[in-house]
């Protein structure tokens, strides 16, 4: 093996990127470029790191397939951490296959974890789970084990399986301690925080209180009629009515549910669901029509009766009605939810993650920026958005460790 490369790689592994740079700063051969790239990534200069790794991948000879593949994996991880979701997924998949073929199972698994994290981030939970399961269970270094468990926990959290999430995070913490990587431990801690921070609000009988993720999960087995504003459904145990494409009807259902067992006046329904300031005769006519539609849709779950001043809900087969709402309701809650991870996002990455148009996201961001809820830096295509930074938020960058063993 090459002497200085070995020395630099050992410095990197010992958490001394400057020591590594010192040894290879003036060299431009392929392994040196790769080492410099990883050192720059650890020092936080992701743009420089990406360029160096790309040059390294090019500089490795055509027969050095494994070294090339490792560079691609490192570049993909940097892209993920910079929330650049537009990187070529195919290149990563190809690199993963190469590593697998050549018996570098640890780095192949690392590539798989990056794929799964990306899928999880853009909300494709089933695919993320399949990717993770497809990796099998090769013996992994502690850092990789920790990442694997973090992805598993992320999937469980998205699925509202708190018990599974806690178990996975427990395993992640153990592995992170073994790996002795502070950033990894911090990431596990902040994931734990999600489980101990209110995930929702429960509104029932005119009062409301915050719910932890575990309590939201228990709600799934409740016999009450639940108006779920996360998924835009009204459900009671196995029976669910979806209002995904009918926001006005859902707004009416929610208003009625929040007031229950009391009724809601026509004026309040009109102003709440139609966003109209003064109710005139045409609004009253429209309300009659929409209530008729809602009545039809809700038939399996509840009845709607007219009262003297408005309407009242009458649930079937249960004596409880609950409304499940976001902890803080904002017009652009979904955008803020993604930015809440503390990382800089491009508007196109947000659009990709939210499944909406870049224009819509841009409008939302502009509005949020005016009220100082988000901030941006950079210009043009390099512009990134983030919420005012959370102290100590980890970058989550854990490049393939034995990257440079030639």
């Amino acid at each position: 093996m090459e002497s200085l490369i070995t020395a630099a790689a050992r410095a990197l592994e010992a958490g001394d990127p400057l020591g590594a740079l010192n040894r290879v700063a003036l060299r431009n051969d392929a392994p040196s470029l790769a080492l410099r790239g990883i050192a720059m990534a650890q020092l936080g200069d992701l743009a420089k790191a990406k360029a160096l790794l790309r040059n390294a991948a090019r500089a490795f000879g055509p027969r050095e397939a494994v070294a090339r593949a490792r560079c691609v994996v490192a570049e993909a991880e940097i892209a993920l951490v910079s929330r650049d979701l537009s990187w070529p997924v195919k290149a990563l998949a190809a690199a993963r296959a190469t590593l697998q073929q050549h018996g570098d199972l640890a780095n192949a698994a690392h590539a798989g974890h990056i794929e799964a994290r990306r899928l999880l981030l853009v909300g494709r939970v089933d695919e993320a789970e399949r990717t993770l399961a497809g990796l099998g269970a090769p013996p992994l270094p502690p850092a990789s084990q920790a990442i694997r468990e973090l992805v598993a926990a992320g999937i469980a959290i998205r699925r509202l399986k708190t018990k599974d999430a806690r178990a996975a995070l427990g395993r992640a913490a153990r592995a992170a301690r073994q790996a002795k990587i502070p950033a990894l431990l911090a990431e596990v801690d902040s994931a734990n925080l999600i489980l101990d921070t209110p995930a929702a609000r429960l509104i029932a009988g005119g009062s409301e209180h915050p719910l932890l993720l575990g309590e939201v999960e228990r709600l799934a087995t409740s016999t009450a009629l639940v108006v779920d504003t996360f998924h835009h459904v009204v459900r009671r145990q196995g029976v669910a009515v979806s209002f995904g494409t009918r926001p006005v009807l859902f707004a009416l259902a929610r208003l009625l549910a929040q007031a229950w067992p009391a009724d809601v006046s026509r004026e309040m329904l009109i102003s709440g669901a139609f966003r109209a300031k003064h109710a005139d005769e045409s609004h009253r006519a429209r309300l009659r029509v929409e209530i008729g539609r809602l009545r039809t849709k809700l038939k399996p779950l509840a009845e709607i009766s007219a009262t003297k001043q408005g309407f009242v809900l009458a649930p079937r087969k249960t004596r409880d009605i609950l409304v499940l709402a976001r902890p803080v309701e904002e017009k652009h809650a979904a955008v803020l939810a993604f930015l809440a991870d503390g990382e800089p996002w491009s508007s196109s990455a947000l659009a990709l993650a939210l499944g909406t148009s870049a224009r819509t996201v841009q409008r939302a961001l502009d509005e949020l920026a005016r009220s100082n809820k988000v901030q941006s830096f950079g210009h043009g295509r390099a512009r990134r958005w983030m919420t005012p930074p959370v102290p100590g938020f980890p970058t989550g960058l854990l490049l393939p460790t034995p990257l440079l063993r030639t």
Binding site: E2, S3, I5, A7, R10, G61, T406
Partner: protein
């Protein structure tokens, strides 16, 4: 050129606390290998680590009868084998791109990995006396019975080859199984080569072909 599959006679290790083997030598009794921050001497009969010397050890290792030579970063350290003390250093000819190391005929022979070269170096001054071109990335280097052998690793393939020290022409080649790397090479003077197994963290004994 004669070409055959390498016959692996025995595997030593993996060893506790050893992530990778960077260089290998033999002092007549023990097989020494470099593992980053120390040299380890193993008893070839039992396979047990008999002794260690804490010294930076990033690439090739050699033995001249009294001293161990060990590449670290961009220099070659001369170490008293009895006490483990570093007696002096000379610059490595590859400026840190150095890999294998051998001692023969009063000279040090240093492999320069990606440059595919082997340098003959004055052990007192570090002066390059001459340079042999190889066709592959050079890992370990060894001399035995007037034959120059070196390990290669390129494109995920490794072999041990004998080259003509004057022309660099390949005379004989022993192919290792795919994915098995040679990092560090030393002959025991008889019918065995010891080679480092790179990041597998082991040392292998490979049979040296008999002369007809």
């Amino acid at each position: 050129m004669k070409r055959s599959a390498a016959e692996i006679v025995r595997e030593y290790g993996p060893f506790a606390g050893v992530e990778a083997v960077h260089g290998v030598t033999y002092d007549g009794t023990h097989v020494w290998f470099a593992s980053g921050d120390r040299l380890n001497a193993i008893d070839p009969a039992s396979g047990k680590v008999a002794r260690t010397i804490d010294v930076a050890a990033h690439a090739g290792t050699a033995f001249d009868g009294r001293h161990l030579f060990q590449i670290a970063e961009d220099r070659i350290q001369k170490i008293d084998a009895a006490t483990g003390k570093v007696l002096g250093t000379i610059p490595a000819p590859g400026g840190g791109g150095d890999s294998g190391l051998a001692w023969a005929e009063g000279s040090l022979w240093v492999g320069q990995y990606r440059e595919r070269k082997i340098h003959q170096v004055d052990p007192e001054t570090g002066k390059v006396l001459r340079t042999i071109e190889s066709k592959r990335f050079v890992t370990g280097v060894t001399w035995v019975d007037g034959e120059l052998w070196h390990g290669t690793w390129e494109g995920e393939d490794s072999d041990i080859r004998r080259i003509d020290p004057d022309t660099g022409k390949v005379l004989e080649q022993l192919d290792l199984p795919a994915g098995t790397m040679v990092s560090g090479l030393e002959s025991d003077g008889g019918d065995r080569f010891y080679c480092g197994g790179g990041d597998r963290g082991n040392v292998r004994a490979v049979r040296r072909p008999r002369r007809a």
